[in-house]
């Protein structure tokens, strides 16, 4: 089966996020007040062939941890749906 996977990579809690902080500081100037805790990240979309959904999740999580994210500072979360 082919699954549509989305991997979101964000900085771990406690790791400074200068990008998120800069975005947050820019918002009031545009009239958006009351927005907090902005964290920047990246997302990846992949199509994954696997026998089962669990297998697809395991493989995607593995490749995300090995390549897409640097586990020292980042965390990868995987979401999956059937094609």
């Amino acid at each position: 089966m082919r699954f549509a996977a989305r991997v979101e990579v964000t900085l771990r809690d406690g790791i400074a996020d200068p990008e998120g902080a800069t975005i947050e500081r820019a918002l009031p100037a545009l009239g958006f007040t009351g927005v907090h805790d902005v964290r920047a990240g990246r997302s990846f979309r992949l199509s994954v062939d696997a026998e089962t959904k669990d297998e697809a999740i395991a493989m995607t999580q593995s490749l995300a941890d090995r390549l897409l994210a640097n586990p020292v500072i980042e965390r990868a979360t995987v979401e999956l749906s059937e094609h």
């Binding site: 200068p18 990008e19 390549l67 020292v72 500072i73």
Partner: protein, 224 residues
């Protein structure tokens, strides 16, 4: 006999010639090592120079760490061979797990290209063995992702084991504990964001990088 130094070239590396010229000026025999090579041959030391290996896609060093040559470099490092990563080379060594921690985007989110004042805070490494503790060096930086980060346990370990070899006198990028360069436990693997090869001649504005590169070359006979 001249020290044989390999300067590793990935697609996107751009400081290999600067590094080679600076090392040759100190008497080294330099060979460029392409990332697809599988062996380091008879090299005495390895330098991973600055640049943008594989376009810095994904993260600086994230793709380069899977290059064929990295396996040989890992083996060389494990056997005590001197390995120095400068700037992008430092990022590659961290991604490869040969040095702890990671290099994050600069705190100010700007690309920094400027002279920095460094303080030698450990001489227990192949790059600082010839320097003096507390010595101040003027060496330029040239990076966007140079903010060193690691967890508290790693930082405590680096301090306890005397592995923070260089600190910024005036932290330009938000690095934890003002860290500009670190070494492995044995001191033979070193990573630093500043570019000693760009401070290797009076016409470049500083010769302070020479003491570091000379230390590296001095580490070679000790191994032979």
């Amino acid at each position: 006999m001249a020290a044989r130094v390999g300067v590793v070239v990935f697609p996107g590396t751009n400081c290999e010639h600067d590094a080679a010229v600076a090392l040759e000026q100190l008497g080294a025999e330099v060979r460029y090592v392409w990332h697809h090579e599988v062996s380091l041959g008879d090299l005495d030391a390895v330098v991973l120079p600055g640049g943008f290996a594989h376009g810095d896609y994904l993260r600086p060093g994230a793709i380069a760490r899977f290059s064929q040559i990295m396996e040989a470099i890992g083996g060389f490092a494990a056997s005590g061979g001197p390995v120095v990563g400068i700037c992008n080379g430092f990022q590659v060594l961290c991604e490869a797990g040969l040095l702890p921690g990671a290099l994050q985007k600069n705190a100010g989110l700007t690309f920094l290209c400027q002279p920095t004042e460094l303080v030698v805070t450990s001489v227990a490494s192949v790059l600082t063995s010839g320097a003096e503790l507390g010595q101040r060096l003027s060496i330029p930086i040239n990076h966007f992702s140079g903010s060193y980060v690691c967890d508290e346990a790693t930082l405590a370990m680096l301090r306890d084991e005397d592995r923070v070899i260089l600190r910024y006198a005036d932290n330009p990028n938000g690095s934890v504990d003002d860290i500009a360069g670190i070494a492995s436990t044995a001191g033979n693997v070193v990573g630093l964001m500043p570019h000693p090869e760009r401070a290797s001649s009076a016409i470049l504005g500083s010769t302070d990088g020479l003491v570091l590169l000379a230390s590296l070359l001095d580490a070679v006979p000790a191994r032979r």
